[in-house]
Amino acid sequence: MKYLYVFLASLKAKLIYRTNIVLEYGLTILQVGVSIFVWQALYSQKALVVPNYSLEKLNAYLFLANFLALSFSVAPAFRLATQIKSGRLSTLLERPISLYGEHLAYFIGDQFLGIVINLCLVVYFGALSGISVLMLLLLVIYLAFAGVMFFSLMMILGMLAFWLIELWPLRSFVTACYLLFGGRYFPLSHLPNKFFIVIQYNPFSLVTDIPARFLTVGLSGYELMQYLIVTLGWTFIFLVIYRLILKHGLRLYEGVESI
């Protein structure tokens, strides 16, 4: 119940700043528009073509990959890092609430609008591609687990602030990794096979490239289950690392600037 209230508080706080929401999605559309424009030019000149992707499918892929990235955001990492650096983490430590649970509930509340939009996109593109309801349901379940996996990774990243204090230098690196390894510039299947075999299982790819591929060129149920198992494996690893890092990190925490 307490996490529901954290979720509601986060959602309310997000909805207060309407302009920010409009800007966030507007800028993403602009960014995707630029990518589509570039690929359109490449395709028209036949300079570069992604196998199995017509221009329409590629446009849809880029749109989906980048919009999904809005929901699977790196924000939790930097929220946690800011709390550690400012000493505001103490407020959470003094309350009978799980740090992970509070952050997850806050994150879902903060991204709720994006989650709803993405679910609508899933249904729309799924219907467009002729994907069955059962498979779409499987995709939604997959996305839920992928979300928890990605969130756990972000929590680990945020906890580096116990040692680094300033996490902002990593922001560019994380963003670059997400754009490249998440397939937000181009489908990862376009990479040479020897790279793709490994890269396809990275956490960034699992939340953007895989679902976008599923809804455009299609994936079999077996393949989706494979990715789901990998996702669960990553989640387990990240949760173990999270607990270890939290235990050691809290020993270094000084609650600077506050009690």
Partner: protein, 308 residues
């Protein structure tokens, strides 16, 4: 009950060299120094006590509070609150503590305070009726009922602090830790806060530990004072037990009416008191009072005396 036994806390910090050459040197090899924030501290705070924790900057007050609230781990010595170790942060322990800081807000900045209270009520698992009654009482006492639905960022400092106090008291904590609770507030708001905290202590036996550089906070909110200096406790007793012999000068003020019925004041040393009183007709004497050292000065002298 709070029990602290032989608590010692050291932390590592780095000594920064001066100038660009020093900075470059530190880039490759930093000078590490050990600082003893607390040194062999032992104290007991019984349920319902109101404690003032004072000392100079860097004396160890905040470090002690962080240990008591479970923020910092204790490696040497022992701290127990109701037989629980604070650093383990058990649910029962966390439900029993409340923290109010002068400079750190626990309210959600963009939302009205009521949203934070609803969330806290769920976090602390307060029964609905109890939460409602408690919130009504606290907001009426602090005169903030109309402010509960205004975004926190729109409130003035004094209004915000009152709302922060509600957040800290909502779950009726057994132990309340206050750090500069009246910082930057007008005297009316200060009096209101003192009143509320005294009522909490009176009705619910809330143990209140106040850290403040403002002596008025200590006078109003503490029956017992713990003075820290360089990580050590140099005084731990009732306020009135502060040694008066530290006072360098005792004087008496005599207020009286002169022959023209105008109020006058005379100040004299103790050995001259009887002599002067004998000269003033009894019916013209308004009051005689001993002018001792102000509490602030007394504490300062005490700390200085320990430092020598």
């Amino acid at each position: 009950m709070i029990e602290v036994k032989n608590a010692t806390l050291q932390y590592t910090t780095f000594k920064r060299s001066q100038g660009l050459k020093g900075v470059m040197h530190d880039f490759f090899k930093r000078s590490v120094i050990q600082v003893e924030a607390l040194s062999d501290i032992s104290l007991t705070i019984n349920e319902g006590e109101m404690i003032g924790l004072i000392g100079r900057n860097g004396a160890g007050k905040t470090t002690l509070i962080k240990l008591l609230t479970g923020i910092l781990p204790l490696r040497q010595g022992e701290i127990k609150i109701d037989q629980m170790l604070p650093y383990q942060r058990e649910k029962v322990f966390l439900k029993n503590i409340g923290v109010l800081l002068g400079q750190r807000s626990q309210l959600i900045w963009d939302l009205p305070a009521i949203d934070t209270y609803d969330m806290l009520a769920a976090i602390y698992e307060l029964p609905k009726q109890m939460y409602s009654a408690r919130l009504t009482w606290l907001s009426e006492q602090l005169e903030v009922t109309e402010l509960l639905y205004i975004p926190v960022r729109k409130l003035s400092l004094g209004q915000r602090v009152k709302c922060e106090l509600i957040a800290a008291l909502l779950h009726r904590p057994k132990y309340l830790f206050l750090d500069e609770p009246t910082l930057g507030l007008d005297f009316v708001t200060q009096k209101t806060i003192y009143k509320i905290l005294r009522l909490e202590n009176q009705y619910h036996k809330t143990t209140i530990i106040t850290t403040s550089h403002y002596i008025k906070d200590i006078e109003q909110l503490a029956d017992k004072v713990i003075i820290l200096n360089k990580g050590k406790i140099i005084f731990n007793d009732k306020l009135e037990q502060l040694p008066k012999e530290l006072t360098t000068e005792i004087l008496f003020d005599i207020d009286f009416l002169n022959s023209k019925s105008v109020e006058k004041k005379l100040t004299c040393a103790p050995d001259k008191l009887n002599e002067i009183l004998a000269k003033i007709p009894a019916e013209r004497i308004l009051r005689v009072s001993q002018r001792g050292m102000e509490l602030e000065e007394l504490i300062l002298q005490f700390i200085k005396g320990d430092s020598i």
